[in-house]
Symmetry: C2
Subunit: 290 residues, 2 copies
């Protein structure tokens, strides 16, 4: 299935590189272009086969692209999409891979609407917000994986302004990469991710930061698993928190309340209550599988 | 190197089974005996090659054993060791694999001293507290692994009452299984493990329990890693908490204070402070390696 002649990936790190590898392996496009800010990253991505062509210049990278996937940090995505729209051909579909959606989608829709209202000579392009729930604490195209999206969920966040055909094509794209697709509102997405990803990051970071240097060698598999995501890039994560402050605060309060229940049971030596809390947690975790 | 003719493992689950496999693979003993409460577990352990002989009867299992390793839940270890001492030959070394040490060591030393004072006909045996920092949330001999202890730390917790030669032999045993050995007081061990293992378990459980059923499918790798240990057996973990209440409450307070710092930075939209907290956490986690 060929979805587009030209796919342009903006930001060829772990996610962008994986999209390139997956699209090429599955023959979804004729050409995969990478647009980046550093020639070195682009060269590595090309050497790894994640992209066919490397660009530092947006205008050249976006010319004639039918599909554009923006895989940059969440605080850069909306601005880039609004700016890049003018370099795209009419009918081009732009999507992203950002871990937050409400702020990005609102800024993109407002920016694209402003273009239109100002009667700038901007072609009619379509935006669909996406978030593939895949990745890791690692960065860079050398960690890219053609199977990264296989059997993982990608959340698309259409709004009343979203073009129905563009949504279908975006869905087909992620499905073709191996992903299962789910639609949510941008707000529901952000509330869900606060609990499934953003607060776990804070909790992992709080645990990691609490470990004194002299106890590091005693941190075994359990501690390593529990804190692994705290190795994620701090600037990327700070940007995520700026986008999702309210939902993260609510989700954090829920987790803190659970921790307090554990603390109270412990302090009261109420082993029955503690055991019940552990059983509830185990049931949830067991339901997730490995 | 043959450390003993007969090694008896009490409790042939993941840890006990791994000790048996490792001891047999390395030729450390002539015979590995398994002592358990259920014939089915013993049969599985024998079928997997983790033990040579299976026993339900302590007296038969312990006769002539030079080394006994008790791998049962922490709330059973001390009582078993004190009871089993009378079945052991003079000079036998008993050790354990419990995740807590202060309560176990105190109860064993008091129990063995009482035997002596009461002039019971109890042979002179030696106890050394051990805790191999290895394992997982899984249970049962089918998860045993001959390399489980390779390059992992085992903490030994001698006291002024510990026999120096028995300590050396216990050290040699864990070293021969591939482990690195570290000596700590039982109290220091428990304070350290509160932070590196027991509180991470509570935090993982609090996170897991906070996940509503409708969001389970959105829990990706990060959530799974962060909550993996919450799948551990709730009765085993409740017993651990009963043994280490004070240290766990202190360590929990430290982690809660860190979480509160994150919450305050978020609530104040102090992204600089939030970024600094994330950087500190990342530095610790990066230092641990994968």
């Amino acid at each position: 299935m060929q979805l587009s002649n030209v796919l342009t990936i903006v930001g060829v790190g772990l996610i962008g590189g994986s999209i390139g590898l997956a699209a090429k392996r599955r023959g979804l496009v004729r050409t995969v272009r990478g647009l980046g800010r550093r020639q070195s990253s682009l060269d590595r991505a090309r050497a790894l086969g994640a992209i066919d062509e490397a660009y530092l210049d947006p205008q050249a990278a976006l010319k004639d692209a039918g599909l554009v996937v923006v895989c940059t940090p969440v605080d850069q995505i909306a601005g880039q999409i609004v700016r890049f729209a003018s370099f795209c051909k009419p009918g081009a579909i732009l999507t992203d891979a950002g871990s937050t959606k409400a702020t990005i989608v609102a800024e993109v829709e407002a920016g694209l609407a402003a273009h239109t209202q100002e009667r700038n000579p901007v072609p009619q392009v379509h935006f669909v917000g996406s978030h593939p729930l895949a990745g890791s604490e690692k960065r860079g195209p050398e960690f890219a994986d053609a199977e990264l999206f296989q059997d993982r969920w990608t959340v698309l966040t259409p709004t009343p302004r979203t073009d129905a055909e563009a949504l279908e094509k975006t869905k087909a794209f992620w499905t073709a990469l191996g992903s299962r697709v789910k639609l949510m509102t941008p707000q529901d997405h952000d509330r869900a991710l606060a609990l499934t990803s953003h607060v776990p990051h804070l909790v992992a970071a709080a645990l990691a930061a609490s470990l004194p240097a002299e106890l590091r060698e005693l941190a075994a598999t359990g501690f390593r698993d529990t804190t692994r995501i705290a190795a994620g890039d701090s600037a990327l994560w700070t940007a995520i928190f700026t986008h999702n402050q309210d939902a993260v605060l609510s989700a954090l309060a829920a987790v803190e309340a659970r921790l307090q229940a554990f603390r109270q049971a412990l302090a009261a030596r109420d082993w029955n209550a503690l055991g019940q809390l552990l059983i509830q947690a185990k049931e949830v975790r067991d339901a997730l599988g490995s």
